[in-house]
Amino acid sequence: MMGLPRRTSGGGADETDDEGEDVTATVGPQAQAAARANDVWKVYGSGEAQVMALRGVTAEFERGRFTAIMGPSGSGKSTLMHCLAGLDSVTRGTVAIGDTTVTGLGDAGLTKLRRDKVGFIFQQFNLLPTLTAKENILLPLSIAGRKPDPAWYDTVIATVGLQDRLGHRPAQLSGGQQQRVACARALVSRPDVIFADEPTGNLDSRSGAEVLNFLRTSVREYGQTIVMVTHDPTAAAYADRVVFLADGQIVSELIEPTAETVLDTMKKLDTPAEVGS
């Protein structure tokens, strides 16, 4: 159960209502963006087989906000996330995380970036099967050779509600529990931004809701920045803001979305005639 009380955190976002029902809620003044894409182009292959995955995407992802990237299959949403996270190179344009320009970094720089500034949550949970839940959570810190902040670690564990499960191996955990371990792993090193790739894609709706609640809590209470790729309108409704992609371009944006408004926007996108804002 994830019945955590929601309080306004010291982050930038104003308090909003549950489930994002109030579409008109205003967004407060933004601090510097946690991640930025500036005129990003991504082209795969060449000649006949050329695929333009991203075509001049410019976007900012504010600190302390929960942003969802949506779009139909093949819209380029995953590519945008990979490029933002420095997992994939861009063909043109620049990407920055915090004050670090990602574009042009070498392997060592990218490794440092991933180690210090970025966290990941994957669709497939991606836990090491041989390690216990606790060891999995602490893995990024131990790779970086850092000690966890005990208070923060306890807070994270309490928030994901895994106190009794820390000694279990992934195989002994349910899908939802595994994804909560993955969330805790991303959170424990306090990265500048967490990228979540369809985090609920492999979960039933109840487990999915738990994970999404937890993500939102970490944004609102602890000021964590999260960028999530999803194609599920219900999941997107947990975010503070939704960015819509189609054919490699940003085509729309919603602030304080609900499942209904997201669904409406998606439907419009599916009808090419109505695209073109």
């Binding site: 997992l87 180690r115 966290g119 893995l139 131990s142 790779i143």
Partner: protein
């Protein structure tokens, strides 16, 4: 990170143990070799130290021809008996005793057969009395000329007792009968010291039969007066006697005697290390493969590590760390097994050698250092390539199923071509004798490079060959699938097959060489020996079997015998170089039986001061008819012979032939082979029994027809071949582990696919058949490669040895067929466990499998 690595290591322990086994075996050989040679070395030290414990100073003449243990038997030159009195007069000497002791006193047991020691000398000695070390157990000392005493182990082996009339064959006598009057034992209730057999005669008899000259001794044992150190006495005695004697303290004598035996041990050590190298080479392939597969399987996991911040170096470190752990464990296990094997072999050796008391098993530092250096190094080096590959896994692979694209084989193939070429060049250099004294290392490096090169080329070859091989099985669906699977990952198939290739190539190569040698020698003997009957024996120690020269004359007198040639041989120093010299009882018979042709001078007769040389020797030494050649034989003074004839060289002729008069100075002054040519129309079966009767007193030799003789001579190569094959079979066993490993991992990797096949209706038996076909295809491919490479290597060596008389390339087709069949069988056996595992896959679970 460390913990994550160790945990993932634990999760795959079975697989790593399997690949570590190869390292364990290699390390076992390395440490076993060191333990064995150390134990035996110290045992020999102890034996000699004990044998010389009562000697203060020993005096011997310098040997005429210095030989090592590996080269043959050292013949000490006899000392004149007057030397004993000279030594006695040196101040500080309490006593000096003349001792006769020479190898070659063979006791004939109660069953009429000669008792052999399989290695340790069989000494004939003069009786010089009891000592703290040596005591009469039964009877008394020999007093009359026809009395002897022997040590208890010898009496037991020959089943003879005090009072029996027993035959003894000696260096200078044929078999003579003696009365056994005493049996001796040694301190500590032992029956022999280090397997040594001793026959004690009275002094004049020992001098006559063992040294061939009256009033001579082999050495003098000197006892120092109280308060005189052996070292001081040694110097005094040496000063009194002059330069032509070797004067040593008892300790020095023991050390020198042991050193010559240890040289033989070092040779043995190198052979064992050679097999260790083979096992480790095969093991390297196995480890490389296992780690490659593990890295491939862990792609997602390693990508995840990278995504959450691990650097490329950390990933390499984690794979290398795994290798270090595997290497360490394998080294420890291998060391333990090696100590066990070394101890076992030492014990076997000690017992075979007739009761060598082992000096206790100890582990020399070289065994420990060798074990860990080799075990760790091999494992880490083999894992390095997979580790580098692991570091190149992009972090994005954690998010998507990155299909590992078929990397082009160009780079590998080019590298393989280059390495093969280097190997070929080294082989050529080594075999053609252009390596300037580094022939053996050059050839070995060449073989190593050739193996690695071919292994690198294997992925390229594997596609067409595997698909061709698989076509045999393509009539059924499982067969077809198995064939396709084996061609699916050419690199993996190739490395697995390459591991099998190494073992099979070595066995094939050695077999080709030895069979060719055997065939060539047999053919040559068949063609050029014109003798229907041959007298010869099988050599089992440093001394060749020999027989009474009187047999030759008696045989010549038999009806139907036309020509008789008795062959003698000795290692001599001629013009400063050691060389084998022969002598013949009748050079004219020698010429006709061996179809020798004169190229200069007369080779039908030989005066006592003349010699014949072969055309090769004449050319090499710049000799012609009339040249004078100084010759130092094993005994006697140097003599000068005049070349009276030169004969055309062939593989069967000796470099030089001395007159029969010279043979009294040979180490073995009796004929070692006799060739009998029968008159036309004489039946071999009529003459053979009569010659047999003549040989009644020469129990170490027998008479055989030519075919049996050739068989007997070349048969020694068969024993060698079998031994090498057994040891190399180990390399093949390790390779089989590799096939099991590869298959097991493939099955695991394809769990989902196998589940799918089962879901759409593939039966359990069909699944198993599919896996089996894959295994058989891989192992037959490896065997074919091995046969091809081995034949190539063997043929190259045979070609290089053409000048040494190996003229015919004999390919062991039968054996090659057997190996191919065995390889197929190996495939089937290796497939059993993985196939069962594949058949047991839970269909539902596999499809749902992430």
């Amino acid at each position: 990170m460390l913990r994550a690595t160790l945990k993932s290591l634990l999760a795959r322990k079975l697989r790593l143990i399997l690949s570590g086994l190869a390292v364990v075996l290699g390390v076992m050989f390395v440490s076993g070799a060191f333990v064995l040679t150390d134990t035996l070395g110290r045992s020999f030290d102890a034996v000699f130290a004990e044998g010389t414990s009562e000697i203060d100073v020993n005096v011997a003449a310098k040997p005429k021809v210095a030989l090592s243990e590996v080269q043959g038997e050292q013949v000490a030159a006899p000392l004149p008996a007057a030397t004993v009195d000279r030594v006695k007069q040196v101040p500080g000497v309490t006593d000096a005793v003349g001792v006769v002791a020479a190898d070659g006193a063979l006791l004939v047991g109660s069953n009429g057969k000669v008792v052999t020691s399989f290695g340790p000398p069989q000494l004939g000695e003069n009786w010089v009395g009891e000592s703290d070390l040596l005591r009469l157990r039964e009877g008394r000392a020999p007093q009359a000329d026809d009395e002897i005493a022997v040590n208890a182990a010898l009496a037991k082996a020959g089943r003879v007792a005090v009072g029996d009339r027993v035959g003894v064959e000696t260096v200078f006598g044929s078999q003579e009968k003696f009365t056994l009057v005493g049996i001796v034992g040694y301190s500590g209730d032992r029956e022999s010291i280090g397997g040594l057999n001793e026959v004690f005669f009275t002094t004049p008899v020992a001098q006559k039969l063992m040294l061939g000259q009256p009033d001579t001794f082999s050495s003098i044992t000197v006892t120092a007066a109280d308060g005189v150190t052996p070292e001081a006495l040694r110097d005094d005695v040496a000063a009194a006697l002059g330069d032509s004697f070797q004067v040593k303290t008892g300790e020095e004598l023991a050390a020198d005697s042991a050193a010559s035996l240890k040289e033989g041990l070092a040779f043995f050590n190198r052979i064992l290390l050679g097999f260790a190298a083979v096992a480790l080479l095969v093991g390297t392939f196995l480890i490389l493969n296992t780690f490659s597969i593990i890295v491939a399987q862990r792609t997602r996991e390693l990508a995840l590590m990278r995504a959450i911040g691990a650097s490329g170096r950390q990933v390499i470190g984690s794979v290398v760390l795994e290798a270090v752990v595997v290497g360490l464990i394998a080294s420890v296990l291998g060391l333990a097994a090696g100590i066990g094997i070394g101890a076992l072999l030492a014990w076997l050796f000690g017992n075979l050698a007739g009761g060598l008391t082992l000096a206790g098993i100890a582990v020399p530092p070289a065994a420990v250092i060798g074990a860990f250096a080799v075990g760790l190094l091999i494992t880490v080096v083999a894992a390095l390539l997979p580790a580098l590959r692991a570091a190149r896994i992009p972090p994005i692979a954690a998010m998507q199923d990155v299909a590992t694209p078929d990397r082009p084989l160009t780079k590998v193939t080019v590298a393989g071509g280059i390495v093969t070429a280097i190997g070929g060049t080294l082989l050529f250099l080594g075999l053609s004798g252009n390596a300037r004294g580094n022939t053996l290392p050059t050839i070995l490096a060449g073989v190593l490079f050739a193996f690695i090169g071919v292994a690198l080329l294997t992925p390229l070859i594997s596609r067409p060959v595997v698909s061709l091989l698989g076509a045999v099985f393509a009539w059924s669906v499982p067969g077809k699938l198995g064939r396709l699977n084996s061609g699916r990952n050419p690199r993996r198939t190739a490395i697995t097959a390459a591991a099998l290739m190494v073992g099979i190539a070595l066995v094939t190569g050695v077999t080709v060489i030895l069979d060719s040698a055997k065939g060539s020698i047999g053919k040559l003997a068949q063609d050029s020996i014109k003798a229907e009957l041959v007298i010869a024996g099988v050599q089992s120690g440093p001394r060749p079997p020999s027989f009474d020269p009187a047999v030759l004359e008696k045989a010549a007198a038999l009806p139907g015998v036309q020509l008789v040639d008795g062959e003698y041989g000795d290692l001599a120093v001629v013009g400063g170089e050691q060389t084998w010299v022969g002598a013949s009882s009748d050079v004219s018979a020698l010429r006709r039986i061996f179809s020798a042709e004169a190229t200069a001078g007369d080779i039908d007769r030989l005066a006592p001061d003349q010699m014949l040389v072969s055309s090769d020797t004449a050319e090499a030494r710049g000799l012609s008819v009339g040249s004078t050649v100084p010759v130092q034989l094993s005994r006697g003074e140097p003599r000068t012979y005049t070349v009276s004839g030169i004969y055309a060289s062939s593989e069967l002729t000796n470099p030089m032939v001395l007159p029969v008069e010279a043979t009294k100075d040979f180490a073995v002054p009796k004929p070692i082979q006799g060739f009998l040519q029968l008159a036309p129309g004489t039946r071999v079966a009529d003459v053979q029994p009569q010659v047999e009767a003549l040989l009644a007193d020469s129990p170490t030799v027998s008479v055989a027809d030519r075919e049996a003789f050739i068989e007997q001579q070349t048969g020694q190569l068969d024993g060698l071949l079998t031994m090498i094959q057994i040891l190399l079979a180990l390399a093949i066993v390790i390779a089989v582990l590799g096939v099991v490993n590869t298959l097991a991992l493939s099955v695991l990797e394809r769990t989902r696919e196998l589940g799918l096949l089962r879901a759409i209706g593939l039966r359990r038996s069909q699944t198993m058949r599919m896996i089996t076909v894959e295994a058989v295809v891989i192992s037959v491919f490896g065997a074919l490669l091995g046969l091809a490479v081995g034949t190539g290597l063997g043929a190259a060596v045979v070609e290089a040895l053409r000048d040494e008389g190996i003229t015919d390339l004999v390919l062991p087709w039968g054996q090659m067929g057997i190996m191919l069949g065995l390889a197929a069988l190996v495939g089937v056996v290796a497939a059993v466990l993985p196939a069962i595992r594949a058949a047991r896959i839970n269909v539902l679970g596999a499809i749902a499998h992430d």
